[in-house]
Symmetry: D2
């Protein structure tokens, strides 16, 4: 149950550490005969890659994906798609100082206790670099469902948030700014705040909202594998995520039934959509929307007291190249995971 | 991928509809040689059963579990444990008026669209009566991990919430009141509010907080099957749940890294626990705590306009015996699902 | 990985011991809207049940199946189908003499070593009574694929075998005799031989041949889950099975490529069918045929020296009601498992 | 259910086509802290590789494995092990003549019908080159179970077979000859026969016997996942396999119970071992032995009439570099699959 596979029908299995030779994976279950748009896959990787703007980590990686199988003369063959993304800009020396140290709120301690061994270079497998493979898988999944629109965006950073329902936003503006926030005034505030936080050597959390549109009625299995339960697990599996809510979410818990019920139109659509597009675990054809909470990045450029693996106190300070706020780069990851959940139900 | 199985090692598969002959399930993977405390299992069922207090549905069911296999001379044998809980108090006539009607914010519409057929009696499989089997499975799981303490409680109903950290609460008071809220002043307010809501023919949502203590270090698989991702999926699979957060949750998304990081003590414990007992998807030995949001029950005793399966408008009003607030009865379900997640990692 | 579930899409999970209250199971993944022919299900159970003829065990069981869920107004609903078959004719006292004894070539020793506990009554879970649930699942699977013809028959008992290719047989004669052998002369010899063996207090093995006709092209996944690998596993999971071969089988291993290759007709069918209807793990539309070897029943009515769980030598002799030859009753089990393999690929 | 993953605990997922860039895979679930013997892994690959002797295909591949993750400073880390084996000696032009032709008894027809597309170069994914990844996985599995001895050998080629029980053989002689037959007289006859067959432009089948020694008592799950059912599926998943038997196998089907039962010694071992080391699906500590039937290679260097994908008759003749008999190279593959089955139960 080693947990490196996602999906049941369209199965993505991933491998790779932050400072190993390559990140990669295998997609098993991709339908045959699909002409893959390689540029679209690389585009998603570019949205995730480091060094893309002033407010993200400055590690320089091109993150070019190489496909090794499952594609013949440009088309998928129905056999497993193996792929790798070489790591080219590892600076493992940046990490020698933490070889025996457990960084606070990282996975260092738990990996060491669980496995008795730990690849300390850049967090090893616990690094968000692992999500490269998710983005590749999600980018292919998206191409298999061209009618479904998947749009994620940064809806809050620290205390700054978009004060509008998603329906009032123009998703085409998401990529217009470095934060990936479609509300441009808010985006500016977020960007300024992230820059300030970076100057402080600190980091900050936030939320991403994701909207899935044109999802057909009937996706999802009731009981244990409800569609929102699968989406929730997918999002909670992303590094740094602390919470997930869909539809009315935590606000819905304060409401009365008479306020919360979504009344039907004669065509089966609903007048309101506090259900968030899912009823009884099954999509009802309305927009599916959910919100994902990310904690602040644990690596800060300030002095912290920590311990080493002998229990000795150690003063440490982040080095290397880190994100002051992961939200902008997490947007394509949220979309990729949503795509992976949906494709598994669509096939 | 029909979604009626939970777990990989300790696997619970369930069956049964609200108004069928019986609810039941199979537990595959229970270790052999365990003397089961049958009273403890029935105790958990009693916490979940209808009719237990004035603030829950008055359907009368004893919910007595019968074990059909896997137990010999009082001990588990390592072979699958089959069990059934007969339905004895079905009043299917209560539902004949909704035979062709889609109740707002229920699963009627989505089931009908997905399956083309629907057992309309009491919601059929979409009824929370299905959770009986979860409680049986969870009660057995608890017995296999006697050292781990699992305590869930109602932390909010509508706008009423416990204004204290869980560390300030006495869990032994949870069962002292009908709401299952360990803060007695708050419990009283909640109870009064639920009674008032019931009088109005309305329903109300709320949140349940769950605390897992004495969990060993090292549970959970990193990447896709992070421990909190499994917990999140488990909770989101419970009827009416709209959100899940653990540790700092959505509040953590507003914080800075310098505030959020949990600094180590020399023994590997942490001074704070905003991580919520899980780092990198793996338990770190600190308390695991999380919060689950429940929407208000969809069935209200007020008139609503809905549609039938031909798209005709229909005026309807809830009949039968329903909960004004599911939270009190959901407490043992949350605990059961937490137990099922943990036992799968403990074995 | 407790091994009581079969299938990935149409999943059968079973429970039950020979002398427990009931045998049963859950089918998860049955499509909705299917009107089940209950008589056809019971017919298959009757083919498997004890006491049906002079050459099988005289245990008297009606083996009546009761469905508890997943069926509404005679039709499947797409939700899990729970079912039980009560055990009504247990004579557990027949087994008290072997409580601490390991019967030769039974599962007594291995269960005791694996689990540290053992339900000695009639072999407990290791009894072929467990196959009742398979027959229920298979009977439903058959109904979902009315075009596919599944015919198994006894092709050898001891040294007596049908000396004809299956194409020369009339499958409608299978049920015309107690042995379930469609070649009537051979059937008579087999029946006489089994009666003689029974008189000797001995048992005998044999083979069952199974032919699957009208199977569509394209079933099966290449690599690890080849169609014949799934069929082989399914057959080898039946009690007492020692071998499986399909198409040319072990004879094919003696042949040259120039003899063995199946040349094509212009329509894609093949002139010969040594491939056995499967090429590269995928069905090619030709008849699928395979042969399954059953060892003789281990319980004999002769004195044997064995040991108890302390390592003491014990003289023992079979009591109770046993089959001198399981082959006749195994025919519907082989068909059921074939049906379960196919339905999983057909859905 | 795309079928490219083997195992539940120690999971091997593979990718790669005969003439793609690389063959490879991911092992998920390998325990941490194991120092891998890379030479031992390469040794197994060398036993499988083409061009190793005069009686196998002359395709020249070094089949060097490169590990990309999951190993740090020579030790496994518990994270997934990604690996690739580049294809370096593809001569795809050898296959242009069969681009639209279905070769008899190959997977060309079924792949084309199933997927609607086919990588015709060397059989694409259906090529036994895929087994490279199995050998890598099996070689690692072997290292995790140093006490278990796994010995496979060629026991027959055409009509030539070893006329001795395996106990009379010296397994250390298996690698002493090109056939991998430990009985040297028989080996010589087999080798001569294969050379003659090759001269004829023909191919020939045979059987491999495999013996697993020092397997602990208690491996395997009863019911559907019996140990021999898992072994059977594993073997039947190897290219060209037509049959599997263990212990007494098909011979056992001719025997009486009084002949077939394995009587116990006081220590729980058995005087005979017709059970083949498995009772009730669970290992009993005795040697596990089984036999696997391979059909002759379908590609022959003789003219055959076949069809193209339009149904036109085509005269064709094998080109390229092919095995006259796959048995010698299949020995390490059988061992690898046995190792993969066992490690999944041992962990």
């Amino acid at each position: 149950m080693a947990g490196n596979t996602f999906g049941n029908i369209f199965k993505l299995t991933t491998f790779g550490e932050s400072h190993g030779d390559a990140i990669g994976g295998i997609i098993d279950g991709c339908p045959p005969g699909v002409t893959l748009d390689m540029d679209a896959i690389q585009y998603e990787l570019n949205r995730r890659k480091p060094g893309q703007s002033a407010i993200v980590t400055q590690r320089k990686e091109n993150d070019n994906v190489q496909f090794l199988s499952g594609i013949f003369e440009g088309k998928t063959t129905g056999t497993p798609i193996g792929f790798i993304v070489p790591n080219t800009n590892q600076k493992s020396d940046d990490y020698s100082h933490i070889k025996d140290v457990y960084r606070p709120s990282h996975a260092d301690y738990t990996y060491d206790k669980k496995y008795g061994i730990r690849d300390y270079r850049g967090g090893g497998r616990s690094s968000a670099r692992e999500t490269i493979s998710r983005v590749v898988g999600g980018a292919i999944a998206k191409q298999l469902m061209p009618d479904i629109k998947i749009n994620a965006f940064v809806s809050s950073v620290g205390d700054i948030f978009i004060d509008k329902p998603y329906q009032a936003l123009d998703f085409s503006l998401i990529e217009s700014n470095d934060v990936r926030c479609p509300d441009l005034d808010t985006a500016k505030k977020m960007e300024d705040y992230i820059k300030q936080i970076k100057k402080e050597g600190d980091t900050v959390g936030g939320t991403i909202t994701c909207v899935l549109q044109n999802v057909p009625v009937g996706l999802g299995e009731p009981v244990f594998d409800k569609l929102h339960a699968e989406l929730g697990k997918a999002m909670l599996s992303i590094n740094a995520v602390k919470g997930f809510e869909y539809g009315s979410g935590f606000c819905g818990a304060k409401m009365k039934g008479s306020e919360h019920n979504d009344l039907f139109n004669p065509d089966g659509t609903t007048k309101s959509n506090l259900s968030g597009g899912i009823q009884g675990g099954i999509s009802n054809g309305m927009d599916i929307y959910f919100r994902v909470a990310f904690k602040p990045v644990a690596t800060i450029m300030q002095k912290q007291i920590s311990i080493d693996n002998m229990g000795n106190e150690v003063e440490m300070q982040g080095r290397g190249r880190h994100d002051p706020c992961v939200l902008p780069r997490a947007v394509p990851i949220v979309e990729a995971m949503a795509a992976l959940v949906l494709i598994d139900k669509m096939l």
